[in-house]
Symmetry: C2
Subunit: 459 residues, 2 copies
């Protein structure tokens, strides 16, 4: 289930390791809590759909350094003055802490903690890079896919984009995220095998071009897949291709349009198919589609039964990154606890471990969220952040199935206010911070100022 074959802790940024060495050599490895969140949503998004947690959990549970990893690190010039004890410590390092997280398939918003790690600071720190990359990528794709599925108004959307993803591995995890968000499946066979996602396929232009002629190509394919063929129409001339299917008395399950005026062509193809008694043959469309183009096609009355969506989905093309961060919020020091906050320009971080409380109206529609300190209590609200790993061990033996995650996503999306689901137009979900959290922020601010003041004067 992991994104990567190995679970090497080398999948991190070098500063996590230099900081680890500094903590270790200073004999300082306090328990710290880090929270992963997206500071603010890109202008093109009104909500997030959380995904990628399972791959994060798998990495956390299995991360380690191999002997070869350790040898590599010892050979890096930056570590030449670091004592052997540090590398012995790394050799045995396993994650021993706790993880809380928002389950996959949950709707979330900017500033809301999606995952919290509480562990000896070296362990918590080393996970940063992997966790941000894994959770924000899948969350970004799921959030995009949910918009595309919504735009298709109940028609099937199939994820077709592995070839345009940022490498084949990204394509495979994108397929997973897209399925969580409601896509019917993927063209990626590896994703089918690894995650149990339905796989879909049609034919390519090359198949038609490799045959002596188009009729022969259609007949060859239909002979092998009599019930399931989806024939591609646009290799030479879309409408002429339909005539050939009819003349050859083929009964394809579907036909695919991949270029030209999809709205107009789909109507003409539908007309020809119906006239030939092929009412059962579905029309699928592909070719640079996204939620905006799909909305436009349907508003033009396109006779399209399903969409294959690639590039825009696997790259989240109009918003290809989420500003995911992983920030320290609490350190257990000798005195007990210290709430830490960051105040640099435009990049403030709220201190302390948090919970997200979600409020709904009587119909179940979400009305607003409240980010509060962990441990606060609010009646009639759902708590989004749940325990996942306790002292290094996964709490649930059996992670949720893809069907469970997908079903949660569907229910969550149905409870979003309709203006947030709409692919265009405004609408911003209300996220508040609790009074207790704001008090804690003020305390941390006062504390930092006092410290700053005393330290400048003591030197």
């Amino acid at each position: 289930m992991s994104e990567h074959c190995n679970h090497s802790w080398l999948l991190t940024d070098l500063y996590e390791l230099t900081m680890s060495a500094a903590f270790f050599e200073n004999d300082c490895n306090p328990t710290a809590s880090f929270e992963l969140f997206v500071r603010s949503l890109p202008p093109e998004r009104k909500y997030l759909l959380v995904a990628g947690l399972e791959q994060a959990m798998d990495f956390i549970s299995n991360a380690r350094f191999t002997g070869a990893d350790i040898e590599f690190l010892r050979g890096l010039p930056v570590f030449h003055q670091v004592q052997p004890g540090f590398f012995e410590y790394l050799r045995d390092l396993r994650f021993t802490g706790d993880v809380w997280a928002v389950p996959e398939g949950t709707v979330a918003f900017g500033e809301e903690p999606l995952l919290r790690v509480t562990a000896p600071i070296i362990e918590a720190q080393l996970l940063e890079t992997y966790l941000i990359a894994t959770i924000t990528y899948q969350t970004m794709v799921a959030s995009k896919a949910a918009r595309i599925v919504y735009a298709a108004q109940g028609r099937e959307v199939v994820e077709f984009g592995t070839r345009r993803a940022h490498g084949p591995v990204a394509g495979t995890t994108a397929a997973r995220a897209a399925y969580i968000a409601g896509c019917a499946g993927t063209s990626n066979v590896e994703a089918g095998a690894r995650f149990g996602i339905p796989t879909f396929g049609t034919i390519a232009h090359s198949f038609v071009m490799a045959a002596p002629d188009e009729e022969e190509a259609f007949e060859r394919y239909s002979r092998v897949f009599p019930d399931s063929s989806v024939l591609l129409l646009d290799t030479y001339d879309t409408l002429a291709a339909v005539d050939k299917i009819v003349a050859a008395k083929l009964q394809p399950r579907g036909v695919r349009l991949d270029s030209g005026d999809l709205a107009e062509l789909s109507k003409q193809v539908r007309h020809k198919l119906d006239a030939a008694g092929l009412q059962q043959t579905k029309i699928l469309a592909s070719g640079d589609l996204d939620e905006y183009r799909i909305t436009e096609l349907l508003s033009q009355g396109a006779a399209i039964d399903g969409f294959g969506v690639g590039t825009s989905l696997t790259t989240s093309k109009d918003a290809p990154s989420l500003g995911g961060v992983y920030k320290i919020v609490e350190v257990k020091n000798q005195e007990g606890k210290s709430y830490v906050a960051k105040f640099s320009e435009n990049k403030m971080t709220y201190p302390g471990t948090k919970q997200v409380f979600r409020f709904s109206d009587r119909n179940g529609t979400f009305t607003h969220d409240l980010i509060a300190c962990a441990g606060e209590e609010y009646a009639n609200a759902d708590e989004l952040v749940e325990p996942m790993i306790n002292a290094g061990a996964r709490i649930s033996e059996q992670p949720p199935s893809m069907q469970e995650i997908r079903s949660r996503a569907r229910q969550q999306l149905e409870r979003l206010p309709s203006e947030l689901r709409a692919t265009t137009g405004g609408g911003k979900y209300e996220v508040q911070f609790s009074q207790e959290l704001q008090r804690l922020l003020q305390l941390a601010r006062d504390h930092a100022h006092a410290r700053e003041h005393s330290s400048l004067h003591s030197r």
Copy 2:
């Protein structure tokens, strides 16, 4: 060296496998040639820098189906009517064909074949998804990185973006592509270990926040890394942090700015450092940088010695996908050869296997390229497409080292006309098609029309 731990041919789109079954069951597996190219560059790009070939070669050489893969495929409903012989064929399938490609580190343009596969059509077809995803992603990142390195005018650029890449594996290959394009190195330790790329690291805000105070954090770190510390200034107050470094008599190798007005702050920090005799301490900057922002900072006289660039680099944020395609151009049928071309709207493909000839002026500056049929000859031109795999075996036992690829990239970029290297402004490189290639296109067109005509009349 592979991007993925296994080399499963399941990393493909389902239609490659259904088409394979159709070819197999129709007893038709002719030798075909496919070419991989980018149809046209995004408006934000004026050239491509080729990367990713080594990972593609590795996959081609090692791709296979495991027993579990075969069982998975046999269980898919779409294959229930396919005969066992097909799965036995897959079980033993290894790549047996030829591959030609443009070496990594070469400058290229739209429509130019970056890679050509000639093999039994089933083998050639199965590779499509992996090859497009691998080569276009690294090429996209290398092309972006080359622009960023150019903008930095000789200052070091370090790739910092794994956490914002489309998953940690994408981040690791992005580091490789960025290094090819001239970045000094990466923060990604796995990329350092796998590809031998220099790794760089500073400290994070969390390190400062976890210490009792900022001075203590700086001192702890400098104790362990006396020669190599790069201290982060903006956790609380950038200029006050410099005062603390000076007061504590630390001599960091560098300091890092990560927020605020980087141009103004860098000048003030430089002034303070110089006044304290810390002329040797370098100033590094990070925080949502790209080629435009770096150009602006340097035009404002920013006192910055090096840049850490993340999101914009690993996601190629302003152009996060390249329209990479892999098209059939030739089939060897009973009569010898058939040149295949595609004529669907706006998506024409030139037939036949090709070579790219590059012409230069007397200074070595590239003047124009000519895409011609493989086998054509032109004096005084470089041929970009080279043989890489012959009958399934890699031609060179020793793939080029990262240093060789990087050095080729530097030389190639230096030979680009200056208006193409510039990060802003127009300029389009001239790419022509040979007369022979145009004649072949016309032949294929006539042939297709004739076939169309006769086939419509014969039914």
